[in-house]
Symmetry: C2
Subunit: 147 residues, 2 copies
């Protein structure tokens, strides 16, 4: 299989295949005649695996780690369970934050029905947004102090 073949088989962009190869998630052999990359069924499995893991929110370094463990004949599954558990917590946090945001946005849109447009007068840029309260202060007090 050449790049385009494996890409089609996995339903991804050929550039993604090249990118994953660059990132050492795939390790194709080379055709000595023309230096083309040769992928086999195992590579396809790895690629499909990587895509599924990406859909679950795993990062490429995490996926690479899993693949390398598998290469070393260690079972990566316990690790996957851990990563998964962690990722689930993240997902639930993201859901909570987005629900907060949605709530505030719908409330704002409703309130704005009754507000004048407020052409800027040197003091106000857009009162629609300036009158927006800051988000819940609870656990994100120092979000800008560290990256």
């Amino acid at each position: 299989m050449k790049v385009k073949d494996i890409a089609e088989a996995a339903g991804v962009n050929p550039d993604t295949v090249r990118f994953y190869t660059r990132e050492n998630l795939l390790k194709p052999t080379r055709n000595p005649d023309n230096n083309y990359q040769q992928f086999d069924a195992e590579d396809l499995r790895r690629l499909k695996f990587a895509r599924k893991a990406r859909q679950l929110g795993l990062s490429l370094p995490e996926i690479r780690q899993i693949l390398e463990q598998a290469d070393d004949h260690h079972s990566p599954c316990p690790m996957v369970r851990d990563v998964f558990q962690h990722r689930l917590e993240e997902v639930e946090r993201e859901i909570r934050e987005l629900q907060q945001l949605r709530k505030r946005m719908t409330a704002a849109l409703a309130a704005w029905q009754d507000m004048p447009d407020g052409t800027p007068d040197g003091h106000t840029i857009c009162r629609l947004i300036e009158h927006w309260d800051d988000p819940a202060p609870c656990c994100d007090a120092d979000e800008q102090s560290k990256g």
Copy 2:
């Protein structure tokens, strides 16, 4: 006000101030003596506005557009309403997708309680993930069990 002053007043990283200046969201004057940037109360309003808009999910180009409309003495608010409506739809879509994901993850974690770890055998990398079904292809029959 110098960079650090306005940054502190708005609660952001000084590098963010410099970045916004580079991006033409802020247009400080210059002290001719030392070429330092001088920000005033209007700049602070713009910066705070930009931060609030970012919290709402507006992009920097969108924010710049709003600020430029305000500079031209046009009311940006109707535009803000449109952008907002659009953004709200995005947020709701994101919430739906994350809820789908959470559902699948919790189901998977429960199912994995009963699955063997499955040391890789040349055919399988990690059955925990390989047995994960592909996500719903389209507008899945929904359930919103969460509020």
